[in-house]
């Protein structure tokens, strides 16, 4: 363990050296960005694999078990090869540029979100360095804004495909998002009010004594439900409800274009899990009362994120799908009032606490 911690510290010191030269060398930031994107890309792949395995367990089946040995670890590679070699079809009725642009926009929005996610905070020589591609003062607001771009992607795909199923899915998505971005935003504001900052790093630091899931459980519930809707997972996957709309907005996509769209969705889910960990589950802080047990913060963060992802998968395995009008009802009539109530609560508590 000791050598491991030393190794980690060594790597982090190297990072810090690089960080401190940011202003001088923009290419360092580029390299770091590439690394982080690669890491989150890998994270999304892990999530796809985890989902297939864990969902298989829930549904009493085995899941991937052929490619790459008993646990099917290479299944994703096989799937990727299949997707790359498939014919790329653009339907005759499609609006070509919207159709091509949609997966790119979806993926870009996911990557833009990754940019501000801090993975750890290093204090070296009394100076704080956040392990993030970019540390912004308003990073949480930025996240909320950039995640909204994904809505455009789905609507572009829905309109550009020239298919009625896709169109309905696009409409559904817009209707859903108008209702759910609001409680999502209010929950984020509640957190920011309590932490007195819009910077995710400071929000996490403010949770070193008390996680916000304990300080505002209602906010967590609202945020979790709204996030499920935001990333479009069961019970809120109306935009790709197979039995209703074939594959929803992705109906006309094939080959790697579909692969990108599908992957963007998982990327959003992984980033969503990171956000929920950072703003409600204490981020890289250790467990309350126990502390971080001398384990580097990044491992705490990743462990918690994996737990949240497992929760996503569990919810998917356990619940049926809402109807779209019920989804919108819940958003406007339940989540927004609850989010406002939570804002009031967090303001009061925040005042007392501060």
């Amino acid at each position: 363990m000791g050598t491991f911690v030393e190794l980690y510290d060594g790597i982090m010191e190297l990072l810090v050296v690089l960080f401190s030269t940011w202003a001088l060398a923009p290419w360092v930031r580029g390299v770091l960005g590439g690394l982080v994107i690669g890491a989150v890309f890998g994270g999304a792949l892990v999530m796809v694999y985890l989902e297939r395995k864990f969902l298989g367990d829930i549904q009493s089946r085995i899941g991937p078990n052929r490619v790459g040995g008993r646990f099917g670890v290479l299944q994703l590679i096989a799937d990727a090869i299949k997707l790359f070699t498939k014919e790329d079809i653009i339907p005759a009725k499609a609006d070509k540029w919207l159709f091509i642009g949609a997966p790119i926009v979806a993926l870009t929005s996911g990557f833009l979100m990754v940019a501000v996610i801090p993975f750890d905070l290093l204090v070296i020589n009394g100076k704080e360095y956040a392990v993030a591609v970019s540390r912004m003062d308003i990073s949480i607001l930025y996240l909320e804004a950039v995640s909204g771009l994904a809505i455009f992607a789905i609507f572009m795909a829905g309109w550009g495909s020239g298919s009625k199923y896709s169109l309905l899915a696009g409409f559904r998505n817009v209707a859903k998002m108008i209702g759910y971005e609001v409680p999502l935003g209010i929950s984020i504001i509640s957190v920011a009010v309590m932490a007195h900052s819009l910077d995710i790093v400071e929000i996490v630091q403010a949770q070193s004594t008390l996680w916000y899931i304990i300080a505002q459980p209602l906010g967590f519930v609202v945020f979790f439900i709204a996030l499920l809707a935001d990333v479009g997972r069961i019970p809120f996957d109306q935009t790709e409800a197979e039995e209703e709309l074939v594959a929803g907005w992705a109906t006309e996509y094939s080959g790697m274009r579909w692969g990108l769209a599908f992957f963007a969705e998982y990327l959003h889910a992984v980033v969503g899990a990171f956000i929920i960990t950072l703003i409600f589950l204490g981020g890289w802080n250790g467990l309350p009362l126990i502390g971080n047990l001398n384990i580097p913060g990044i491992f705490w963060l990743i462990a918690k994120t994996i737990m949240v992802i497992m929760l996503f998968i569990w919810v998917r395995g356990a619940l049926p799908r809402y109807r779209i009008d019920q989804v919108i009802d819940i958003g406007w009539k339940v989540l927004i009032p609850l989010a406002l109530l939570n804002l009031l609560w967090s303001t009061i508590i925040g005042l007392i606490w501060a």
């Binding site: 829930i58 009625k164 039995e243 209703e244 619940l319 049926p320 799908r321 809402y322 109807r323 779209i324």
Partner: protein
Amino acid sequence: MTHEATQITSPPKPSEMLLHLGPQHPLQPGPFLLDLKIEGETIREAELKIGYIHKGMEKVFEDRTYIQILPLTDRICYLASNSNNDVYCRGMEELLGIEPTDRAKYLRVLTNELCRIQSHLLGIGEYTTDVGFLTMFIYMVRERESVVSLLEAITGSRLNHNYARFGGVAQDLPPGYKEMALKSLGKLKELIKSHDDMMSSDSIYLKRTKGVGTLTAKEAGELGVAGPPLRAAGVNYDLRRLEPYLVYDELDFNVITQTDGDVFSRVKVRLLEILESIYIIEQCLDQMPSGPYKQDVTPYITRPEPGEVYSRIEDPRGEMGMYIISDGSDKPYRFRIRGPAFATAQALPPLLIGTYVADVAAIAASMDSCTSEVDR
């Protein structure tokens, strides 16, 4: 809901759109075309077009000998193949003037009830995936495997059983069958109860199904719908009780009814009927007399006296009837099938009007229609 409005009469207004669900769509058990005129997500008009896999079975039957028809009755609907065998054989027995042996009667009831269980399990399974409940689908298919294995042990095949014969059945029970069946069904009973709990306690599931797609008793009667959709509307109509065939008058069972006639009730009826069928099977296994399971002389070349017969049965999906006219030759003069799925299919478009696109999946699957039988 009006039953006249089952055809799309006018082209869509600017605010409306025609959505062709099918003939290939993930929601469908087989190819049919459901044209929906929708305004936003609301369905204004609906029209069902069938015939994509029409097999002309009734005409084919008129060109086959009576024995040759028997395995073909399996293919009317593979989930109800045992009932179809049975209803045909009972019709022929009446024409030929023979009676199945006592043991064969019990064996037929036994296989019919197993067939009902597996059909209901797959019906519920398909339905649950249509409301987005994939986990329950896989549970149902898993449970169905054990029942199909029980059927396979008796009949030798998993789907198209071809088990009933004129005046008997094809084979006797294999040795040790009773213990095997009781063990397997006991487990199934527990699992079905737990799945029922899981479904009735899920608030999302209740929201999706309660009060959706209500088919009243009157409308069901007008459309000729029988079986679980009719019993879900509160009508105590079950041929096993009203016109006890085989040995149903010696068996104790309840006719399951619900009151609401909505999607939830239809599925609930099926779930409870599975438990009731298990109870019937347990009685069958207890009471089954020993003795021959078939006639001493199997009538291979059958030339029934000229005449006509209509025999009917409580199929898993409703009332299945076969009308056979014999002119004294070895082939039927006229063969007519009254299928339950055809009635449930034609009840679908009126139920859809005023509901949402998402409800199409729930309602269509809860009717548990079978395209193969509709287009027989």
